[in-house]
Amino acid sequence: MEDVKGFIAARVAEELKDGDVVSLGIGLPTQVENYLPEGVVITLLSENGIVGAGAKPSADDASSYVVDAGGQPASILIGGSFVDSAVSFGIIRGGHVDVSVLGALEVDEEGNLSNWIIPGKKFPGMGGAMDLVIGAKKVIIAMEHTNKGTPKILKKCTLPFTAVKAVDMIVTEMGLMVVTDKGIELLEYNPEFTLEQIQAATEAQLIISPNLKKMAAGQ
């Protein structure tokens, strides 16, 4: 696959409904915006202070006064508004965000998520992630299935949690999974991989859905 990240982002985009309030994390999740199905208009929340964020501005249009949650130049759509951080996180904790799409270092079969610290190695911080995964109605993890071959979908996260039992769905280049009471259920698989290959790349025991489908991003 040439564009793994684009493939994942395109599949995540299919999960978004017209009118959803959506938060997209830095990196791969940001690309989801590029693949929205026709007729689906979302309100993008940038937790540093934009309700209704727009596309990345050209260098000429960029303003030092308008940045996104990665500190990069951003834009606001007509009908959008700027908010302070207290209002922004009120929106987030208050359940007013429909979908939060984030990356993960690890996710496990209970829906626990680790994505903010690698003790002794990396100490970037959680930013808004802990609030987003607690507050959003649906939490989608968009990430590559493994870290260069090492499984990221585990029986139990080994890194400090970002949140417990918070993840609803995981989308990778191998498939689409949901977290259930019984474990992680594979609903869709990418036919470029066999089910054996997908399980081999996953530490958690996958439950194969009786209605298993082929992954059909962007079709």
């Binding site: 940038s46 937790e47 540093n48 202070g49 934009i50 303003s63 030092s64 006064y65 308008v66 940045v67 990665g70 500190g71 951003a74 700027f82 908010v83 302070d84 951080s85 207290a86 922004s88 996180f89 987030i92 904790r93 903010w116 610290i117 990396k122 100490f123 970037p124 911080g125 959680m126 930013g127 808004g128 992630a129 802990m130 609030d131 607690i134 507050g135 400090p160 949690f161 970002t162 949140a163 417990v164 039992k165």
Partner: protein
Amino acid sequence: MAKLVSVEEAVGLIKDGNTVMIGGFMGCGNPHKVIDALVKKGTKNLTVLCNDGAWPEFGVAKLITSGQVKKLIATHVGLNPEVGKKMNTGELQVELLPQGTFTERIRCGGNGMGGFLTQTGFGTIIADGKQVLSIDGKDYLLELPLKADVALICGNKIDRKGNVWYKGTTRNFNVVMATAADIVIAEADNVVELGEIEPENVVTQGIFVDYIVDGGNA
């Protein structure tokens, strides 16, 4: 009423060992002129509350590089490698908080509230040592207020009474920080006449602001 002072007078109000809140998000909405003057003055052993460490050599990062910050309370420091370096050498302590909790604890500090309850961080190391309360079957952490000796904020237009209007995404933490410190110093991109900011558009009321510094961007 807010008093217009020089940037040197303003930073003279900050003492060694003070706890200082600094508004802004990745430098956007940092009071850049006040920070530059504080670096020049060399005030030491500061505990700084700021969302992040910005980018190297930009905004609040300059205070970290200069070694004036003893402790940084933030939510994300991954984009300024200097923070990690100084942590490893023991020159800088860093305490990380979830961004919504950081903001709301400051809001509590400025709003006379004894704390607030949030599900954010429950079951994580953030919860260590914190009281858990169960309400309607859900577990919440009790998070306590944060206050400071001085808050350094930045607005695009500030009138002679200290009323502030913010441009773009610069509201961020400036709005809550303006309420939560003994001394509030507001850097104005533009100092404007009374009435120039319509009453409906005042975001931070002048009663919160003690000193105004003209950022001279007009």
